[in-house]
Amino acid sequence: MRTIRTAFALFFCWALTLASAQAAHTQAQLILADEVAKPGETVLVGVHLTMEPGWHTYWKNPGEAGMATKIKWQLPAGVTAGEIQWPLPDRLPPAEVTTYGYEHEVVLLVPLKLAADVKPGALALSAKVSWLECKEQCIPGDAAVQATLNVGTETKASADAALLKEWQSKTPRAEKLLSFQVHWEKQAEGDTRQVVIEGSQVGRETLALEKVDFFPYGSDDFEIQGATEKVSAKTGFALRKTVKKFTEWPTNLTGVIIVEGNKQTNGFELNQPITEETAPGLATAANSSSASASGLVNQKSLVQMLLYAFIGGLILNIMPCVLPVIALKILGFVGEARNEPRRVRKLGIVYTLGVLASFLVLAGAVIALKSAGQKVGWGLQFGNTKFLVALTILVFLVALNLFGVFEITLGGRAMNAAGDLASRHGVAGAFFNGILATVLATPCTAPFLGVALGFAFAQSTAIILLIFLSVGLGLALPYLLLSFQPAWLKFLPKPGAWMEKFKILMGFPMLATGVWLLTLASGSSEKSTILSLGLFLVALAMGVWIWGEFVQRGTKRKGLAGALSVLIVAAGGAFAIPMNRGGAEIQWQPWSSAAVAQAQAQGHPVLVDFTADWCLTCQVNKKVALEVASVREKLKQIGAVNLVGDYTHQPEAITDELTRYQRAGVPLVLVFPGKPNAEPVVLPEVLTSGIVLGALEQASK
C-alpha cells in the first residue's frame, strides 16, 4: 500500500514538474558571487535567466510594450537588497514596436548588503522572480529562487563569481569617457518633439564610435520612441530621438548611450537636463556654440598632448647622443656658410624637413602596425589588459635604458648609409643631415619614442601623425633657430658629463610612469597578478643588465652571457604566466578545525595550506609546489579536501594551530590522512611538488 502511495506521489510530482517545465520557456536561478561573506560586506548576487531560443525577457524599460522583470526579495534580518543592475539590452523584434530586452540568457545583478551585526552561519536567501517572456506569443512567468550564503570570518568567492563578473562588465560603465549635451531641436508638433543628444569624448581612453545608439529609461508621462537618427556632428556624435508626450514633456533625458566599435560594446548612463532651443536663428547660434564648446574639451586635451610631445622633442636635444651631434654636424654647416645668411636659413629649413620626414616615416610605421593589429583583432587601447602589460614592460625597459643598464644601438650598416648620404654637400646634404641626426640620436630617442609610440597606438591616425610631427618639431627647433640666429650659439649648453646624469634623472619619471601603468594593468586582476608581473619585471631587469654589462660592454664569453640573459627573462616569463591562469586551480575551501575533522570522518585526506598575502615563501610554495598539474591530479585522484587558512590578519584560531605544530608563523602546510583523528604529515617550510606528492601518497594509504 505504502509503495503504491509513494509511487503515486512520485508520479504526481513528476507530472507537476513536467507541467511547469512545459509552461515556462525561461529558467531562473539565483547565483551568488561569494560562498562565504563577512558581516558588513556587500555580496553581488544575480538572477540568471535562461531563455529558450527565440524567446526573450525585458529590460528595466521594456520599451513600447512588454514588462520589466521583477525581483521580490524575501531576505533574513540584516540583509538588504540594492537595486537591480541591468546589463545592456538588445532591441527586439518586431520593428514597428520598439522593445528592449534579452535573448538566450541574462544575469540581473543585485548587491546584497550584510549588516555589520549579522550572525555567522547559513543565511537562506530567496526571491520571487516574475517576468514576461515573448516569442510569437507572450507568457507571464515566475519562479521562486533560493540560495544559501554562509556568513563567516573570511570571504570566499564561489564558482559563479566569474559569471557574475562577466555580466557586470555588460552593465553601463562608471568612467566618464563621454560628455553629453541634450537640447530640444524645434517646437513641439502636437504630441511629438525632437530631442538631440550631442556627445563628445573626454576620457583618456578613446572609444571607437562605429555605432552609437540611445536606449531610454521608461516613464508613464512620455515615450522616447525607438528610432534613432544619426545627425552629423563636428566632433563626437549627435543623435536625434522623437519624444511622444502622454501627460508631460520630460525635463531630463535619462537612459543609456550604447557605443559599438572595435568589436566592443560599451554603455554609459545619460542623465542630462534638456535645454530649450527657442527661435530658429538663436537655435543655430546656440547649436554651433555648444558644438564648439564640446569641441574645445577635445581640443584642449589634444593641444596638451602635442605640447608634451613637443617638449619631449626639445628634451631630446640635450640627451648625450644628440647634443654632440649639434656641435659636430650641424654647427659645421652653419659655420661653412656663415657668409651667406640666406643660404644658412635655407639649409636650416631643409634640415628641419629632413627631421620631420624621418618622423613621418616613423608615424607611418606606427599607423601601418596599428591597422595591421586591428585586422588581427588586437584591441590596442587603454583598458585592454594585454596592451597595458606590454606598455608597462616597455616603459620599464626605457627606464632601465636611461639608467644605463643597457644600450640601444642601430646596426652599423644603417649608420654608415645615413653617414654617406649626409656627407653630400648642399641642400641634399642638409636634408640627409636631418635624417642622420634622427638616426644618430636613436640610442637616446628610441626609448622616448617607444613610449610616445605606445601611447600613440591608442589614438587615431591623424593624432598619431600630429604627435610624431610635434616631437620632430621639438627636436629640430634649436637647429632652425640657430640657422636664423647663429649668434645664439653661445646660449647652447656645452656637451659634457652632466648629460649622462641628466639622462639618469629622466629615468625616474619614466619609472614612475611604469608603476602607474602597472596599477592600471592589474586594476581588475587579483593581488597575485601584480606580484607575478612585478617579479617578472625584476627578472627582466636582471636579464637586461646581464645583456648590457656582459654582452654589450663585455669582452669575454659574450655567448654564455647572452644565453644566460635570455634564460632569466624566459624563466621569469614562465613563472609569471601560469600565475595569471585561473580556471583550473585547486578548489580551496576555508579552513576550520571542524572542516578538517568532518573531512577525515568522511574518509577524505585533507590538504591544509596556512598562508598570508605578505608571506612570499607561501606564494612561491603555492606556485611551484601546490598549484601544479601533478599535484592537482593527485589531489583529485585521492579525493582530497583542500582547505586554505588565511593568516593575513592573523586570526587567533590559526595562531593556535601554528603553535600546535611549533611554528611561529606561516607557511605551514599539513596533509591529514583520511581517518578520524589521524595526525597529519607536517611539510617543511620550503616546498617542492615532489615533497607534496610524497606526503599525499603517504596520507592516502
Binding site: 514588462m67 514597428e96 514576461l132 510569437e136
Partner: protein, 197 residues
C-alpha cells in the same frame, strides 16, 4: 545634399504616416473586413462615438481583461449606449496567435464578446495607421470623427490584476464625451504585449 533632403523628407513622411493618429485631430479613416466577411468603414459611423481596441487573446494582458469578464462588460455597457466598439486584430497570418475567421468566431462565442465587430487586420494597415503598439491599446473617437483618447485601457499595467478595481480610462473618456466635456486624460502610455505585426 538634395538626396539627403529627399531622404529626410521620406523619413518624415514615413514616421508621420505611422503616427498619423493624434489626439485632437481627425482620426484616420480605414476600411476593414470583420470575421463574418462584412466590410466595415470608419467614416460610415460618423455621428457616433467609436472605440477601437487592439486585440490578441494570446497576450496575457489582453486575456486578463477577458478572463475576468471585464472587457466584455465594458463592451456591452458601451454598445448598449449606441457606441460602436471595433476590435482590431493586427496579428500577422503567419503568427501562431493568428485567428482564422472560423477560429475567431469560436473565440467570440467562447468569451461572449459584445463588440460591434472584430476586424481581421492581419496586414496591419489599421494598426499601423493608428500607431497601435500593444494589446490592449485603446482609442476613442468622438461624434465629429476627432480622436479624443489614445492609450492604456486602465491604470494598472499588470497581467494578473482585477480590471474591475482599476481606473478605466476608456469609460472615463466616453463619459466625458457623452457629457459634452473635454476629455482630461486624453493620452496615457499603453501597456501590454507588442502587437504582432
Amino acid at each position: 545634399m538634395k538626396r539627403l533632403i529627399a531622404l529626410f523628407g521620406l523619413m518624415a513622411l514615413v514616421s508621420s504616416a505611422f503616427a498619423a493618429a493624434e489626439v485632437g485631430k481627425t482620426a484616420p479613416d480605414f476600411t476593414g473586413t470583420d470575421i463574418n466577411g462584412k466590410t466595415v468603414k470608419l467614416s460610415d459611423y460618423k455621428g457616433k462615438i467609436v472605440v477601437l481596441e487592439s486585440y490578441n487573446q494570446d497576450c496575457p494582458y489582453c486575456h486578463d481583461h477577458f478572463k475576468t469578464g471585464s472587457m466584455q462588460e465594458l463592451q456591452k455597457e458601451m454598445t448598449d449606449k449606441g457606441i460602436i466598439w471595433l476590435m482590431v486584430n493586427s496579428v500577422n497570418a503567419h503568427n501562431s496567435s493568428y485567428r482564422t475567421p472560423e477560429k475567431a468566431r469560436a473565440e467570440w462565442a467562447e468569451y461572449k464578446m459584445h463588440a460591434t465587430a472584430w476586424l481581421d487586420d492581419n496586414s496591419g494597415a489599421i494598426g499601423r495607421a493608428y500607431g497601435m503598439l500593444t494589446t490592449p491599446h485603446m482609442f476613442v473617437i468622438d461624434k465629429t470623427g476627432t480622436l479624443v483618447y489614445d492609450g492604456a485601457i486602465d491604470d494598472q499595467p499588470d497581467p494578473f490584476h482585477d480590471p474591475h478595481k482599476a481606473h478605466n480610462y476608456v469609460r472615463d473618456a466616453v463619459g466625458k464625451v457623452l457629457a459634452g466635456e473635454k476629455v482630461t486624460t486624453a493620452k496615457t502610455k499603453p501597456y501590454g504585449c507588442a502587437v504582432k505585426y
